[in-house]
């Protein structure tokens, strides 16, 4: 079963964080990713550029039209993700609970839909 770990946090706080704290967070994520890879849990993952870099597309007159900004303006923004493979939700909760970005943010865990085609 595949689960997506979606990392939400306050971008403003992140942008104003001291360099040392960011480096520490980065190192923690490297370690976290390394461990999940070793245990064959991790399928992929990445940090996302800030939501100010987002482009939203919608159909207008049958054609996709790009506009500036993220799909939804919220207090916490999607800042990164991991895609993991776990036997069940409890196992996924254990891994997601160890994600370093749970500090000062929140983690959403979503199962992927498997299409039997």
């Amino acid at each position: 079963m595949q689960y997506m770990i979606l990392i939400y946090g306050d971008e403003k706080a992140y942008a104003s964080a001291p360099k040392a704290a960011l480096e520490q967070m980065h190192a923690a994520h490297m370690q976290y990713g390394k461990e999940m890879t070793e245990k064959k849990v991790m399928i992929g993952g990445s940090q996302l550029a800030p939501s100010s870099s987002a482009t939203t597309l919608r159909l207008a007159g049958g054609k996709p039209v790009a506009t500036d900004g993220p799909f939804a303006e919220t207090k916490e923004q999607l800042g990164g993700y991991y895609l993991i493979e776990c036997a069940n939700l409890d196992e996924a909760i254990k891994w997601a609970g160890r994600c370093p970005s749970i500090q000062g943010g929140s983690i959403e865990l979503r199962p992927l839909v498997k299409h039997n085609m």
């Binding site: 079963m1 036997a87 069940n88 939700l89 409890d90 196992e91 909760i93 254990k94 865990l109 199962p111 839909v113 039997n116």
Partner: protein, 419 residues
């Protein structure tokens, strides 16, 4: 077979069989589907061929075979876990094999697993209880809706959503490991006690007490104790339920609930009270080692134990009960606990003390609209000789009480005051 027997069987066996099936397929909807089909076959066959010796085992075998048929004919619907695949092979090799499970204990592990699924933190809190009542106790959506005083459609919707979530997020049909267990046990205990209370005063008017639900809750409580060894609150909960359940024969008379002071105590089950007291002793010993302030179930069990030991209402250790309520109020601050504490204080120090505390509660308005506050005030006013005041308070309580049974009780009390 008469309908009544079948209903009883439904209630007693439903949760057991469903738990086994759900673990096998990880999907409650599917498990309920095949179980319904198995029950339909039972309704057709048992009156003709007689009830099997092990009804739960019979139902499990039939439903399991139906599940395997579904897995074969519709592989998209049933996820082919290794276990399902193995089952299919087994059944193909020995189609007439009797089920491996025999007796009640064989179902315990799966029921506990199902309970943890119902109490999973990713299931909406309001749905946990509904799901447990539906799956473990076999209550219908309508019965659950009545118990929660909610719309049947809303409950049905809630059940559908949580079952879908269990399947889609793959909540495991397993007892969590030690690390997660300590976080989840409290919710499990809460749901067990809610199940017990649902049986203790069934919201359905007939019967008033659903002993089968109470017994299931006690059994689940004991299972939880096996799982979390030396857990004072889990042991105290079992003690509390045993001590309360022991009074069941005295609690109802002629279709009416009898308050504890009027109960015929010779009808209390002495063996169960002894068992409850023994559980409480264990809980207290365990609690002493933990060196923490006592928690709610321990205090409530201690209160129930003092009642259980007393030969009459007059010879009850009310000062001790009042002190325990004060302690309970500290760990479980609630206006209802405060009201019960006020009643105990009245019994310990006279009606005026109780009335003073109730006036306090009344002034704060937290229990506005709750009929048991004026009902308790009425009782104390009657005892203090203020008949006019008591009459007024009973009338007030009657404007708030909606349950027919409680209304009948209040009306009788009011009549007994005389013209």
């Amino acid at each position: 077979m008469v309908g009544g027997t079948f209903d009883r069987l439904m209630r007693e066996e439903y949760g057991k069989v469903l738990a086994v099936l759900a673990r096998r397929c990880g999907d409650l909807d599917l498990a309920e589907d095949v179980l319904a089909e198995a029950l339909a076959r039972a309704a057709e066959r048992w009156p003709r061929d007689g009830e099997p010796e092990q009804p739960a085992a019979w139902l499990t075998t039939v439903a399991r075979n139906l599940l395997i048929d579904r897995a074969r004919t519709n592989p998209l619907e049933v996820e082919w876990t290794d276990e399902v695949a193995q089952q299919v092979e087994q059944v193909a090799a020995h189609p007439a094999d009797p089920p491996a499970e025999h007796g009640d204990f064989a179902f315990d592990d799966d029921r506990l697993r199902l309970l943890f699924v119902c109490c999973h933190p990713s299931i909406n809190q309001e749905s946990q209880m509904a799901l447990a009542l539906r799956t473990l106790c076999g209550l219908t959506t309508r019965e659950i809706a009545r118990a929660f005083v909610q719309d049947e459609a809303a409950i049905a919707q809630r059940l559908v959503r949580s079952k879908r979530k269990i399947r889609e997020a793959r909540i495991p049909f397993e007892v969590p490991d030690a690390a997660q267990l300590s976080e989840r046990i409290d919710t499990v205990l809460t749901v067990i006690y809610l199940l017990f209370n649902e049986g203790y005063l069934a919201h359905e008017t007939e019967p008033l007490v659903r002993s089968d639900l109470c017994e299931q809750a006690i059994r689940l409580g004991k299972l939880a104790c096996d799982l979390v060894r030396r857990h004072a609150e889990a042991q105290a909960l079992v003690a509390l339920m045993l001590l309360q359940h022991a009074r069941r024969a005295a609690r109802v008379r002629g279709g009416e609930l009898v308050p504890m002071e009027d109960q015929d105590r010779s009808l209390w089950n002495a063996d169960e009270i002894r068992a409850g007291l023994a559980w409480l002793d264990d809980a207290i010993a365990c609690h002493r080692q933990a060196a923490r302030p006592p928690r709610p179930y321990l205090l409530q069990a201690a209160i129930a134990a003092l009642h259980g030991r007393a030969v009459s209402s007059e010879l009850t250790d009310w000062p001790q009960i009042a002190a325990l309520y004060d302690g309970l109020l500290e760990v479980l601050p609630s206006a209802v606990v405060e009201l019960n504490g006020a009643v105990a204080h009245a019994m310990a120090s006279g009606p005026q003390e109780g009335l003073r505390r109730m006036a306090d509660l009344d002034a704060r308005g937290e229990l506005a609209g709750y009929h048991l506050l004026p009902a308790a005030q009425a009782e104390l006013l009657r005892r203090s000789g203020d008949t006019a005041g008591a009459r007024l308070a009973y009338r007030h309580a009657l404007t708030l009480a909606t349950q027919p049974l409680e209304r009948r009780y209040l009306e009788r009390r009011l009549r007994e005051l005389g013209p």
